[in-house]
């Protein structure tokens, strides 16, 4: 399964991918994660790809994704074409306007909720991750939570997991 997270730098895009990839490994799967970063343009769009498979992973840069998660209009525009037929689109409904109905869509106003519920926009990524995990159910929640607690600063583990769980609830 090929999953692409995308958005602006600073939205925690790459962290989401790393957490998911590692969670897949903890769950006994094979996973690789790659990211693209601009040279100077820190504010520009950024992406993070995760490939998760039961078998060994030989392809490093898949042409098409099964899942696209996007947190900004420019990245939506740039990457919607990479989504496979039948692929799933996830997006922040406040930040992205979708102009196609080719794909099954899933959205929450993650950034807004994060700001309202956790006082910091940065938790949007964990909200979305929970939302995604529940909708797709390909990686165990336990593995993801373990991965979260390994990757986020110790002081924020609780908050991040709370956001993740809220994401799950929102998807139910």
């Amino acid at each position: 399964m090929n999953i692409r997270f995308s958005g602006f730098g600073g939205q925690g895009i790459i962290l989401s991918g790393v957490i998911l990839g590692w969670a897949a490994v903890l769950d006994g799967k094979n996973a690789i994660q790659t990211q693209s970063y601009g040279s100077s343009a820190r504010g520009g769009s950024c992406k993070c790809d995760v490939i998760i498979q039961e078998s060994a992973i030989y392809e490093l840069e898949p042409e098409h994704n099964d899942i696209l998660i996007t947190f900004s209009q420019p990245s939506y525009n740039a990457f919607i074409k990479s989504l496979k037929e039948g692929g799933h689109l996830f997006y922040d409904s406040d930040l992205v306007t979708v102009d196609t109905n080719e794909f099954p869509c899933n959205s929450i106003p993650a950034t807004d909720i994060a700001f309202k519920e956790f006082k910091q926009k940065i938790y949007a990524n964990m909200l979305m991750l929970g939302f995604l995990a529940e909708k797709i159910r390909f990686i165990g929640f336990r593995a993801i939570e373990k991965s979260i607690s390994q990757y986020v600063p110790t002081k924020t583990i609780e908050m991040n997991i709370a956001a993740f769980r809220m994401g799950i609830d929102l998807a139910k």
């Binding site: 590692w22 790659t34 030989y58 392809e59």
Partner: protein
């Protein structure tokens, strides 16, 4: 924390690491205690990790003013007892060439990581490539041999880095660690070993004043400050290290020995992996990032009933001549997927009589499995 304690703290850990990071940890396990470097995409992660970890293990990280200074400091550290390394990408690797030759000439063991990016020149700095394969062999002036290794995964990046240090110590030669931007940047599972179960080659240091530059094919080294008052020079020298810039014999003896110590041990140094070679009509040869989709393609082609074998090179230099020569006799055609315009494929041509076809892709993105599968299907 000292080195042993530090490594014990990592024992048997499993981490999700980029190839770059895995290489850096590999170096730490190999006993690297000195890193000098200069930031460059896509190699900076190695420096950053080393700057964070080396002080914990009692080693030293320095950021120098440029890459020339970096390799210089690395060699200085070697003769002062350090196990040392640097990491860069094409532009910095080009700048290091003069002093890489110095390391060959003075037989200074050290590891130089080149995380290859899309060149020539500045090219596409954030994109991976395999364009420096022949530069690794021929980048510096004058006759010399070279050891170069190229991993295809994070785990191998870790494991092979230990091998890189071992080879460099054993053969007293710089080792080029040919990562590519793709393998350097994928994050994958890496399992650390127990340091106590690893085979770490200990530098052969002589405490007496002996001939450090001759007398035997691979002489022992010394360490500065022990009273031998050794003379180390990049000029032609006698076996005691003293300069001799006029005698033909001195040059011939020195250079041929430095050359032969590698080339005559080619088979010991050359690592590779073969798949399906017992029963094949065609052969794919690849390495590093390109080897992954190649492996995928070979599996796919086999499924389709095409008898194709796969030779994955791990050691690039000295070139694994024997296996190529042998397999060349048993195949109708050799396909070489590489992220360059055909560099390893050229070398293979020297040893085989069958057609050798480069399946090249440049521009920063490795081949897809389909691209290779389709290319081979169409060209057999």
């Amino acid at each position: 924390m000292n080195n042993q304690k530090y490594l014990d703290s990592l024992k048997n850990k499993t981490l999700f690491l980029q190839g770059d990071e895995a290489a850096a940890y590999g170096a730490l396990f190999a006993g690297c205690n000195f890193f000098a470097g200069y930031p460059i995409t896509p190699a900076s992660e190695i420096a950053e990790l080393m700057s964070r970890e080396l002080p914990k293990s009692g080693g030293y990280y320095i950021q120098m003013e440029d890459e020339i200074a970096s390799i210089g400091a690395v060699i200085g550290a070697v003769w002062s007892g350090g196990k040392s390394m640097t990491a860069t990408s094409g532009p910095g690797f080009s700048l290091m060439q003069e002093n890489i030759g110095y390391a060959c000439m003075t037989e200074s063991p050290c590891v130089i990581v080149d995380v290859q990016r899309s060149g020539p020149s500045t090219g596409q700095a954030t994109k991976g490539a395999q364009g420096d394969v022949l530069q690794a062999r021929w980048g510096t002036h004058g006759d010399h041999e070279m050891i170069a290794l190229s991993p295809w995964s994070s785990q191998e990046s870790f494991d092979l880095m230990i091998e890189a240090f071992n080879l460099s110590e054993k053969y007293r030669n710089p080792v080029i660690f040919l990562l590519d931007g793709e393998v350097g940047h994928i994050r994958e599972k890496v399992v650390f070993p127990d340091i106590n179960e690893l085979n770490i080659y200990q530098r052969n240091i002589s405490l007496e004043k002996i001939d450090v530059f001759g007398g035997q094919r691979i002489p022992p080294m010394i360490e500065f400050g022990m009273g031998q008052r050794i003379h180390v020079t990049g000029s032609t020298h006698k076996s005691n290290g003293m300069r001799d810039v006029s005698s033909m014999e001195a040059h011939d003896t020195l250079i041929r020995r430095i050359y032969d110590k590698i080339s005559s041990n080619r088979n010991e140094i050359a690592h590779f992996e073969t798949h399906y070679i017992d029963n094949m009509d065609y052969l794919a040869v690849s390495y590093g990032a390109a080897a992954r989709p190649t492996m995928g393609a070979v599996l796919k082609l086999r499924e389709r009933g095409i008898k194709i074998g796969f030779l994955r090179l791990i050691t690039i230099w000295p070139f694994p001549i024997d296996i190529c020569t042998e397999l060349g006799k048993r195949t109708k055609k050799i396909f070489v997927p590489e992220m360059n315009l055909g560099q390893v494929s050229r070398e293979i041509e020297r040893f085989v009589n069958c057609p050798v076809e480069s399946v090249s892709k440049i521009g920063g993105i490795s081949h897809t499995i389909d691209e290779i599968t389709n290319y081979i299907s169409a060209n057999i």
